[in-house]
């Protein structure tokens, strides 16, 4: 679509701030048309109008339209309700998860402008991201997630009826503690399907138990055989997916407990791409709501009041407080993402000499094609590494601080200048690398023929140790595993620190 600003007579769809269902439909049609012009490919949309209370419900279940019951969601709800009542937070005006159809929520208290903004942001921005980005395409199955969540909810409540709420809660608590370690980072998981889960669950339960029994067999083997066999390490390779390992190998878990582990693991896996594409996803949605709303204005479909109200809201969304501001709580993913996409468009449309040098392939190319390419084929880490331009670094005045516990002072290692761009870019990309953000902990060894203890190994990066509540997490691992659990921080074959559950009797140091 070329930018022929038709300053024709303004015939706005609406002028007041009140919304009606007819108006929502009209705006949606107009927005859909613009989205099509910009080649945004989306899943079908389901737009639900809900009240503030319902929004709090949605918010406290991580946006899942159906979720199993757990106290932690109740805690989240109480917290949200309190903060909302005190006016400390406007409710997030958009919550959306990748499902087919893509469900977005409009809050009834919103003005017409806000409803249009949310439709543009969620139903066309996020939606097209979910459908286009390679992580979502390969790792998640949008058409099956709702059914799976329903299956999970029913299964959990069946277990509660059969084994008691407390017993189920304990297992889920422990799984939640490990849910970030319930994902395959490199292997594509099998698709989620509720129907299949249901039919295969029974078989799987039996099969699993059999396998576990095999592993933990205590019937002595013939001596000859035993001699031939050296002590094999189990697992042969370190395992990064701790929950998966537990589901398949924990000696004492009942079949239903294994299924609960699996449910938490599957849901965690489903949201894994979400966690890896925060900046890209929010940036994409923000870029498109901005572009679509401005196009609405250019077409004369909205009036000045509307666009001013929009700009005010948009500015608030992409506000980035400086590092020294009392409001500072890290880099705002909306700001960063929006800045990168916007600058990408500028590089394509109005390249400078600097751009020619930094981005020879894309400077002057078709902006729409380039943006779609960027959206489809990256995750936060690689996206930043690839597309963060010197101009954005300058605009945001990004700089690096080195905090070394061996030095007595912080050091500014790079700033937004010629010598610093590359370093800032690398460091920022690293900051969004999940395997850097979370400690690297893997299943290292199981003493299969001995005390059945499980050993996890932590590989610290740059000597960063584990946090103080590590012992607490270990208790959860212990609950699932059923036998002693050890965790060692190992660097260069040297054990820097070790944790045990139950705590080791022998005094250490």
């Amino acid at each position: 679509m070329t930018k022929t600003t038709q300053q024709a007579v303004r015939t706005p769809i609406s002028t007041g701030s009140d919304w009606t269902f007819e108006l929502i439909e009209e705006y949606n049609l107009a927005i859909a048309k613009i989205a099509e012009e910009y080649k945004l490919d989306t899943y079908p949309n389901q737009i639900e109008v809900i009240s503030a209370e319902q929004m709090m419900d949605a918010y406290s279940s991580v946006g899942m339209p159906v979720g199993y019951h757990h106290w932690s969601f109740g805690k989240q709800f109480l917290n949200t309700a309190k903060r909302y009542q005190r006016g400390q937070m406007g409710l997030a005006y958009e919550i959306v998860i990748n499902s087919n159809p893509c469900i977005a929520y409009l809050m009834e208290e919103n003005t017409m402008m806000m409803q249009a903004l949310v439709i543009a942001h969620a139903s066309y921005g996020h939606n097209s991201f979910f459908k286009g980005n390679y992580l979502f395409r390969t790792w998640t199955d949008a058409s099956a997630i709702i059914d799976y969540l329903l299956f999970a909810r029913n299964y959990v409540s069946q277990c509660e009826n059969r084994y008691g709420i407390a017993a189920v809660e304990q297992i889920i608590d422990s799984c939640h503690a490990l849910q970030n370690y319930g994902v395959d980072r490199y292997k594509r998981p099998s698709a989620i399907s509720a129907a299949e889960e249901e039919t295969r669950m029974k078989e799987r339960e039996e099969y699993l138990q059999k396998q576990v029994n095999e592993l933990w067999r205590t019937i002595p083997e013939s001596k000859e055989k035993a001699k031939n066999k050296k002590r094999r390490r189990f697992p042969e390779e370190p395992q990064e997916n701790i929950l998966y390992f537990i589901e398949k190998n924990a000696p004492l878990l009942e079949p239903w407990q294994r299924e609960l582990v699996r449910i938490v693991r599957k849901i965690s896996q489903y949201f894994y791409p979400q966690r890896q594409t925060q900046v890209m996803n929010e940036g994409w949605a923000t870029f498109w709501h901005y572009t679509i709303m401005n196009t609405l204005y250019d077409k004369g479909l909205v009036n000045d009041g509307f666009i001013i109200e929009f700009l005010k809201s948009h500015t608030a969304v992409i506000y980035q407080p400086g590092f020294d501001s009392p409001w500072y709580s890290g880099i705002n993913p909306y700001t960063l993402g929006f800045a990168i996409y916007s600058d990408l468009r500028r590089i394509c449309e109005h390249p400078t000499e600097e751009d020619q040098k930094w981005f020879p392939d894309i400077a002057g190319s078709d902006w729409l094609e380039t943006l779609h390419f960027a959206m489809k084929n990256f995750k936060d880490e690689s996206f930043i590494l690839q597309f963060l331009s010197p101009k954005v670094i300058r605009d945001l005045k990004l700089f690096c601080v080195l905090d070394d516990d061996k030095a007595s002072e912080y050091r500014i290692s790079a700033i937004h200048d010629d010598n610093g761009y590359r370093h800032v870019r690398e460091q920022l990309a690293m900051q969004y690398n999940l395997s850097y953000r979370e400690p690297n902990i893997q299943v290292w060894d199981v003493d299969v023929r001995g005390d059945r203890s499980l050993t996890l190994r932590h590989i610290p990066v740059d000597r960063v140790p584990l946090a103080d509540d590590t012992e607490e997490v270990l208790k959860h691992v212990h609950r699932l595993w059923g036998f002693d659990v050890h965790l060692e921080s190992v660097w260069n074959d040297e054990v820097l620190q070790s944790y045990h559950c139950p705590p080791a009797n022998t005094e250490e140091e």
Binding site: F21, I24, N28, A32, T42, P44, N45, Q46, I47, E48, E53, Q54, D57, S60, S61, H69, W71, S72, G74, K75, Q76, F77, L78, N79, K82, I165, D173, H176, A177, G322, F323, D324, S325, Y328, S329, I331, K397, F399, C400, V401, L402, D403, D405, K406, S408, E409, Y410, R411, I412, I415, L428, Q431, R437, E438, V461, D462, V464, P465, L466, A467
Partner: protein
């Protein structure tokens, strides 16, 4: 481009999180109970039944995950540089982090806020307050009062609400009516049909007067007419409808009366009276909440006793000397007049500072032992005094030894004891 559905969900349940919230409250009930107990002590008489904000130490409800701790070498990217250039060195703030240079989000979450605060409603507050409490020894007694009914089936009626339509009966009625109203017509119809069949099977006879074809036509016309008539009878009519009939029957139920006996004599200081009132308010709330139909009799006494209403009991300032037995006598009178022991569960709570005429105390225990305790389910005595116990307490102690199951006594020194003592007196005992 996909389709778009716009759905109004506002009328759907908004309490999706109710179960999760309830789970949370259940998990932390010990914390909440403690907060409630603390709140009860702090509150004044009038606002004892509000909601409450409960706070729980954050570390108790934390959900631990593996995280990076402090230390090692790390590099952060921050926005909004003002005057720094590469190579600048900045002093680390005390405590090794936080503050200026801004830690990554991960290392800071979970710290900073020490208390998790949330609201519970008035209902929930009272639930927690009176949890596991009950009136002891409550038994079913036959009751003349007729406020409790049970509905029982009593045949059928031709009037009623749509919800109670008895379909089988109604259709049976309709069928009978249709049979009755169309009987004659059907008979005639049958006859005609038979005749028609005969005519059609007979060979044609030449008869100029009655041509067979004409006769057949005539019969067919009549058959059609009759069928129409039958068809006109409504399939179901208003007076076919039959409804299930239910009638009210009174049922025996538990009925109980609580006597509140309060000492307002001059020896009770303002603080004592306040404690006594707060105790009774607690009791009153508890009774109102957990027992829908319960009578409460308020008796206040100094040298003479008087039955008063709720308002006067809690707010009047009348005072005088002390004769405790006057209240017990009064209670006995009221019992005899209005609450026969074979129909009522009778309870009493007495509050006093124990400062009585020494001659009167034996009279009290005599009264209690002979005329009151045999008829009541439970009698509790609280003594509010920071001083040594006097005659009355010692007299009552004797009773305690004889009637441990129906008599209880507790000692309150200051306002902080009210709620614990209250809980002790009405603790639900294992069945």
């Amino acid at each position: 481009m996909g389709l778009t559905h716009i759905i109004d969900r506002r009328l759907n349940g908004k309490n999706k999180s109710a179960v999760n919230r309830e789970r949370f409250l259940r998990r932390y009930r010990e914390h909440i109970k403690k907060a409630v107990a603390d709140a009860v002590q702090k509150r004044s008489i009038t606002d004892i039944d509000r909601g409450e904000s409960v706070s729980i130490p954050s570390k108790d409800i934390a959900e631990p995950v593996f995280r990076h701790g402090r230390g090692g070498k790390r590099e952060y990217v921050n926005p909004g540089n003002k005057e720094y250039v590469t190579g600048d060195e900045l002093a680390k703030p005390d405590g090794g982090g936080g503050g200026g240079a801004g830690q990554g989000k991960a290392s800071n979450s979970g710290e900073g806020i020490d208390e998790f605060v949330f609201q519970i409603s008035q209902d929930e507050f009272l639930d927690f307050m009176f949890e596991d409490l009950e009136l002891p020894n409550l038994v079913k007694k036959q009751l003349k009062d007729t406020t409790a009914y049970k509905y029982v089936r009593a045949g059928y009626s031709s009037h009623g609400t749509p919800a109670k339509i008895n379909i089988v009966r109604s259709l049976r009625g309709a069928y009978a009516r249709r049979m009755a109203l169309t009987g004659k017509t059907r008979e005639r119809l049958k006859l005609l049909e038979k005749r028609l069949a005969e005519l059609e099977s007979e060979p044609e006879i030449k008869d100029p007067a009655f041509s067979q074809a004409e006769m057949i036509r005539g019969i067919k016309d009549e058959i059609e007419y009759l069928k129409k008539r039958i068809h006109k009878i409504p399939w179901i009519d208003d007076f076919d409808l039959k409804f299930n009939l239910h009638v009210k029957q009174p049922v025996p139920s538990t009925s109980a009366v609580m006597f509140c006996l309060m000492d307002v004599s001059g020896s009770m200081s303002q603080m004592h009276k306040d404690i006594a009132k707060r105790f009774f308010i607690l009791l009153y709330l508890f009774l109102k909440r957990n027992y829908q139909r319960i009578d409460v009799v308020f008796i206040r006494h100094h040298t003479s006793a008087k039955e008063v209403d709720e308002e006067e009991f809690f707010y009047s300032r009348e005072t005088g000397g002390t004769i405790v037995s006057s209240a017990l006598k009064m209670m006995k009178e009221v019992m005899d007049a209005r609450y026969p022991a074979n129909e009522w569960n009778i309870y009493a709570a007495q509050a006093s500072d124990g400062d009585n005429w020494n001659d009167d105390s034996p009279v009290c225990s005599q009264l209690l032992r002979d005329q009151i305790l045999p008829f009541v389910q439970y009698f509790s005595y609280i003594e509010i005094t920071p001083h040594e116990h006097q005659m009355l307490w010692h007299e009552y102690e004797k009773i305690l030894n004889e009637h441990g199951d129906t008599f209880a006594m507790q000692h309150i020194v200051d306002a902080g004891d009210i709620y614990p003592v209250f809980r002790k007196l009405f603790q639900r005992k294992a069945a």
